[in-house]
């Protein structure tokens, strides 16, 4: 049991070290500023500018977070503060199911429903050009649905941890239910809600298949939500097969994986620290 536990602890470091070793050839040749801030991507010429991919990831993830946060927070507040037990028990399995649907299925749904909607309805109505409906908007919509469950469930736990006494004090002073939620519950729960959003963001950050299928995959820094993008996970998934033939290419792709891992590590530690403090009653 101890061995398994130590292995579980070390697995993460193994991944970090393994990826770092494989990514170090490119790190020792190309300066890190070029890797991060150059937008020229030409592996066969030895040019490895990750900027288009980093920006692609940020655009898609940012859009997904903007869509998902208000919807998830409002749903979660309703479920924990207003909804009766019956509604809550009916909705919970549905949200679990939403979390359990595989990402390729979400991707396929995006291709079948979201992409045609953007292509045939939204883009003509707004008079913008898209490449057949594929792009950041489609990616953002699909991703936002995928992060609903995590934000809703973490927020729900945080709201439940706010003590009932505080609510009652506020209500007894004549505050309405909504005033109590706004001024007491949400204020108390703010760090936890922040953690929930960070966890949602970090989930969206590394999502691969669903985004890859709808986002267009063009290696250019995007300028609007109707542009296509090429996020880092999609780059890894798409180029793994061919990368062995070009020098440094494999190192560059594993560097992309390392970047994902580090970003997710930072976000997760941040969020978990907040949640652990809440659990211990420090916040």
């Amino acid at each position: 049991m101890l061995a398994a536990t130590v292995f579980a602890c070390l697995l993460f470091f193994l991944m970090l070290v393994g990826l770092y070793i494989r990514a170090s050839p490119i790190l020792s040749i190309v300066p890190i500023t070029d890797l991060l801030f150059s937008s020229v991507w030409g592996p066969s010429d030895g040019k490895f500018g990750f900027l288009p991919f980093i920006m692609g990831t940020l655009w898609v993830t940012g859009l997904a977070t903007i869509i998902a946060v208000p919807i998830s927070l409002l749903s979660s507040i309703y479920l924990s503060e207003y909804a009766g037990n019956r509604l809550r028990n009916a909705v919970k399995p549905l949200i679990d199911l939403l979390a359990g649907i595989p990402s390729v299925v979400y991707g396929l749904w995006g291709v079948l429903a979201v992409v045609p909607f953007i292509k045939n309805t939204l883009a003509p109505a707004l008079g913008v050009e898209t490449i057949g409906g594929y792009g950041i908007l489609a990616g953002g919509i699909v991703l936002s649905i995928m992060v609903f469950p995590i934000i809703i469930s973490v927020t729900g736990e945080v709201l439940r941890s706010v003590s009932q006494d505080m609510r009652e004090v506020s209500l007894s002073l004549g505050a309405t239910k909504w005033q109590t939620i706004k001024h007491v519950v949400l204020r108390k729960a703010r760090p936890g809600i922040f953690a929930a959003i960070v966890l949602g963001f970090s989930r969206a950050f590394g999502e691969t298949m669903a985004v890859l299928m709808v986002v267009g995959n063009v290696a250019k820094v995007p300028t609007s939500v109707f542009d296509p993008a090429y996020p880092l996970p999609a780059l890894i998934a798409n180029t793994f097969g061919e990368m062995m033939s070009i020098p440094l290419y494999d190192s560059a792709i594993l560097l992309a994986a390392l970047m994902l891992l580090i970003v997710v590590l930072i976000f997760n530690i941040l969020a978990r620290m907040v949640l652990i403090k809440i659990e211990r009653g420090v916040i």
């Binding site: 579980a8 990402s103 390729v104 298949m209």
Partner: protein
């Protein structure tokens, strides 16, 4: 009506709308996949492997992917179970005693949970390259086991934590050792929860594509040994959708229906199991 009551009703409407969007998107995803996939699903899809020229629209089915996915997910889940059960039991107070190790383990598992599956895939691939191995069923099983480890362990641990301390103390007072108490009392009491953990992890494993993209490979045959490459349902969906022919793309829809039905079945079984076995638990 007072201003604050108007504000409350506006927010209530927004909250209900948000919840409707969340539940509605789940129904939309399931609805669209079933609507597009069910008409093209036929018995050949389920009972035949991909024949020559399958990706050019010729006959055959995806039995190779169904069997491949079951092999991968069952193997991965079994391996993850062996590791998880030890870690989950070890995190009890009696063994790790709320030490540093247990909180570090919890944090690492949470971070691993948040790690994108494409990173597992990239890491698995670097390990394969290190040992000069090719993509195989065994490699896919190992990567899936690592991917499932955090989910399974954390779910199991949460359940084991809820076993009442008094119950354990009764067992100790009768002279039982730590191990006897763990295996005969705690494991029995936590059984429905342990099974839920296994099923949730199985669902995550069978639906994941990014982690096995480079580690399990893809083939039209059913694997006969652990060292053969193997097909899988999520990748079958992905590759079939990527072909230019509409009739092959339709097979992707049908494959998605099969995967979705497996996920739905797991979700329902989880609920039924926990309801059925909760009856035998001492509260």
């Amino acid at each position: 009506m007072e201003l604050r009551r108007i504000e409350e009703s506006i927010f209530k409407v927004l909250m209900v709308l948000s919840l409707m969007i969340v539940v509605g998107s789940l129904l939309a995803v399931i609805g669209v996949i079933l609507w597009k996939g069910l008409p093209v699903l036929n018995i050949d899809m389920l009972t035949k492997t991909a024949q020559g020229g399958y990706y050019l629209g010729k006959g055959g089915g995806i039995l190779n992917a169904i069997i491949g996915s079951l092999y991968l997910a069952i193997g991965g889940t079994a391996l993850a179970f062996l590791l998880s059960i030890g870690v989950a039991f070890y995190l009890q107070k009696e063994y790790s005693g709320g030490t540093r190790l247990s909180s570090i383990t919890r944090l690492s598992l949470d971070i691993l949970w948040g790690t994108p599956s494409i990173v597992y895939g990239a890491f698995g691939f670097t390990v394969l390259m290190y040992f000069h191995m090719r993509a195989s069923l065994l490699a896919g099983i190992i990567v899936l086991a690592l991917l499932e480890l955090p989910i399974m362990t954390r779910t199991m641990e949460e359940v084991i934590k809820t076993v009442p301390q008094e119950l354990k103390e009764v067992s100790y007072s009768l002279g039982a050792t730590r191990l006897e108490t763990t295996l005969r009392v705690v494991a029995k009491q936590a059984l429905p929860g342990l099974m839920t953990g296994v099923l949730i992890a199985f669902g995550r494993g069978i639906g994941d594509a990014a982690s096995i993209l480079f580690t399990a490979g893809y083939t039209d045959r059913i694997p006969t040994s652990l060292f053969d490459a193997t097909a899988s349902l999520p990748l079958a969906i992905f590759f079939q959708l990527g072909t230019p022919l509409p009739q092959v793309q339709q097979k992707a829809y049908a494959s998605a229906v099969i995967l979705l039905l497996i996920i739905l079945a797991i979700s329902i079984t989880t609920r039924l199991l926990s309801r059925k076995y909760t009856k035998y638990i001492i509260k």
